[in-house]
Structure formats: structure tokens, C-alpha cells
């Protein structure tokens, strides 16, 4: 496959970026999208040019590191797929592919296609955990009986890999789906119920502090989430938040 690529290049956080054109030849349809970028980078390095910086780690859809807005869609055109699991067979030879970073004021660009998603870490640190005493007598979480429907629901929410595609897809750069998934995951479990009031309050305060936008229920987050985290999580977040205000 021969492709034309338009890639966002930006030296660092402070400098202005722009789209640059590249062409690449002989790409195998079975390559992953990131492998195609590896080939491009080899080509750039051989030509004495600066390679394109992009985030990746596991390359199997579980770490949430890979990002990229491909042809206008976070994680590309294929539903329920992370960028690292997207294959070149989804494109045609001769295609022009636009590659941009996830954009949002709370996700500042570090370089090229890499953005700083530490705002998500700070939201997690604000309440996305269950406090336990780890002095040696910690009870195994599995020793607590949990009704199957609750366990299933919690598991569905826990599938969120914290990639940030929901923010990238949302016209408001809202992080409600991510925060909703984290809050609902714990709210379903007996261990998480103890701190549920403080958790939701603190996580929402931190989310607002980071500069994410407000949810207007466009549903773009759910449609682009590679882990199919449902909008239900936002409804549950709203409910948890209202309850925490009443209490």
C-alpha cells in the first residue's frame, strides 16, 4: 500500500505546530497502524530527519498509552479498537490519512503526537481508589461476597483503560465518561461504597480544576471509546454526585 500522510508536528509544548506531508510506500495491509508509523520513522531517521513522536506501550489494547486522532476520529475509524490494534487493511492504497494528537486544554501537547494526560492521574489520585490498611492483615477483596450483577457492572466500568479518547472525541473536551467509569466501578462494590460520597465530590472538583469541559450528552465519547464504556456511567456519575450533595 502507498499512502499520503498528513501529520501534526510540534517541537514542544510552547512552539506552534502544523500539519506536515509525508508519503510512504510498500506498507503491508497486515501491519498495525503503529507499525506503519515505525516504518515512517525509520524512513525519516535514514533521511536524517527527526522521527515523529507518538505514545505507545503494550500495543495490545490494554495500557491506554496509544492515542492519535486518525482522519478526525480518536483511535481511528474502527469501533471498539485502540490505535495499536488498528490495522492498515482498514485503509486503501492511495489514501490520505490525517494524524493529529488528542486535543484539549487539559491534555497539552508535549511533542508531535504525544500529549500530557497526567490530568487523568490527578483525578484518580483525588479519589479513584479504595483505602485499605496494608499492615499485614489486609482482607483479600475476593473474600467479600458481591452479587453477580454488581460484579459484572463494576467489571464493565473497570474496563476503562484511561486512554482519554472520550475527551478527544467530545466537542467540549469533557472527561465525564472517564470519571464516570471510575466512580461507577467503585460505587457498585461494597469496598468502594465506604468512601463513595467523598470520592465523587473530590474527583469532580479535580476534573473541573484540570480544565475539562462540561458534558452536553452528545454521545461522541461512548461512540469512540475503545472499551465500549457506556454513557450509563455518566448518568451514574451524575446520580452519585447529586446524592453526595444531598447527604
Amino acid at each position: 500500500m502507498d499512502l499520503s500522510l498528513k501529520i501534526w508536528r510540534q517541537k514542544n509544548k510552547n512552539e506552534k505546530g502544523s500539519m506536515q506531508d509525508y508519503s510512504i510506500k510498500n506498507i503491508e495491509p497486515d501491519m498495525s497502524f503503529l507499525e506503519m508509523l515505525d516504518v515512517l520513522n525509520q524512513q525519516l531517521i535514514s533521511g536524517g530527519e527527526e522521527p515523529v513522536a507518538f505514545d505507545h506501550d503494550c500495543r495490545e489494547g490494554i495500557c491506554g498509552s496509544c492515542s492519535l486522532v486518525i482522519n478526525g476520529a480518536p483511535h481511528g475509524p474502527h469501533k471498539s479498537t485502540t490505535t495499536c490494534q488498528l490495522h492498515m487493511r482498514k485503509f486503501k492504497s492511495g489514501d490520505t490519512i490525517y494524524i493529529e494528537p488528542f486535543r484539549g486544554s487539559a491534555f497539552p501537547i508535549i511533542k508531535d503526537l504525544i500529549v500530557d494526560r497526567s490530568s487523568f492521574d490527578r483525578i484518580q489520585q483525588a479519589g479513584g481508589y479504595v483505602s485499605v490498611n496494608t499492615s499485614g492483615n489486609t482482607v483479600d477483596a475476593n473474600a467479600t461476597p458481591i452479587p453477580k450483577p454488581n460484579a459484572d457492572e463494576a467489571f464493565k466500568s473497570a474496563a476503562c483503560i484511561g486512554c482519554g479518547a472520550c475527551v478527544a472525541a467530545c466537542k467540549n473536551s469533557s472527561a465525564m465518561l472517564f470519571v464516570g467509569a471510575k466512580v461507577s466501578q467503585y460505587a457498585q462494590l461494597p469496598q468502594g461504597k465506604v468512601e463513595r460520597t467523598e470520592r465523587v465530590k473530590n474527583m469532580v472538583v479535580q476534573m473541573d480544576k484540570e480544565g475539562f469541559g462540561n458534558c452536553t450528552n452528545t454521545g461522541a465519547c461512548e461512540a469512540h471509546c475503545p472499551k465500549e464504556i457506556s454513557l450509563d456511567n455518566i448518568v451514574k456519575l451524575n446520580r452519585e454526585y447529586l446524592n453526595s450533595k444531598i447527604k
Binding site: 486535543r103 466537542k171 473536551s173 452528545t218 454521545g219 461522541a220 469512540h224 454513557l231 451524575n238 446520580r239
Partner: protein, 206 residues
Amino acid sequence: MALSGIFLMIFLLQHLAINLTSLIPDNGETFNTISHFMGYNPIVQFVLQPILIFGVCFHFVMGFILEYQNRKARVQKYILHKTRSSWISRNMIISGLVILAFLILHFDDFWLPEINDKYINPVLPDPEKYFFHLQEQFYNQTYRTIFYCISFVLLGLHLNHGLASSFQSVGVSSANKHILKVAANVYSITITVGFISIAIFHYFIH
């Protein structure tokens, strides 16, 4: 935003119900009776009307604040952004602005004359005037009727997204998502078709 939206949606239903009485072939008697009651009942005038005006203003102001905050959340825009979401859900501000323009015209058409008759150049209450005034505004008034109809279509789209969205925002279970979607469709179509039929009816029939 959601709560004021829900309040305004309830108001719109009663507004439509009253306006539909103008289609009854009784020479506007029912419409006049209800309109006169609404215009002179002290609870409606001095309790409900201020609440309504506050609700409308609050909804618009909150809408602008929300839009401002949301634009600030992505200063650098995408070169290409094609997300899987409906046009209306992404452009509530556009439909909202059309509705605002419509409201200004609508106030000028119906509310300001009423305020004038009551407080600025007071005249004796005339319980027969409402139906006549309604006919006057629409009969053969092509531009006004077209603008009203376009506004009703955008209002319907705004409500279609707004209804489902506002219930989600107040945490109503999304186990009822399909019911919400159906309710949003039924409600928005009823409001749009209802108001358009009234405008067109009075455009053609005197």
C-alpha cells in the same frame, strides 16, 4: 441547565395546549376565555410569569456560560474532527440562538402589546381581543409565518436532544434510555407539528 430545560418543556406543553384551542371552530371563544384568564389571573401573572421569565433567562445565560467554558476547554482546534455524534447534539447553541431570535420576535408580537395595554398605555381589559390579535399576526403574513415555522423545526430538534440529555444530566437511569429516546421523539414532534399547524392554520384561515 437540565432543570430549567425540564421546567421549560413542561411550560411549552401547556402553551401548546392553550394555543390548540384557537383551532376550535367557535370563533375563538375558548381561546379568548383561557387567554384572558392567563392574562389577568394574579397567580399566573405575579407568581408563575416571573418564575417563567427567570427560567427562560437562566436557561439562556447558563447556555452561554456552558458554551464559553466548553470552547475554552479546547483552545487549539482539530484540523479534522469527525466524531460519531448527531449534528443537533453538537450544535445546541445554534438552535438556541435561533430560538432566542424567535423569542424576541414572539415577545414583540404578543407579549409587549399585552404589557402596553396593561401598564404603559392602560386600556380596559378586552376578553375578546386575543383571538383577533392572533389572526392579525398570521393571516397572510408570509415572512412571519415562515420564520415561526423554521424556528419551530429548530425548537423541535433542540427539544429532541434536550429532553433525553436533561434527564441523563439529573441522573435518570439509562436503563430507560430507549424509553427516553421514544419520549423525546414523541414530545419534540408533538411540539413542532402542533405549533406549525397553528401558525399555518391562521395563515390561511381567517
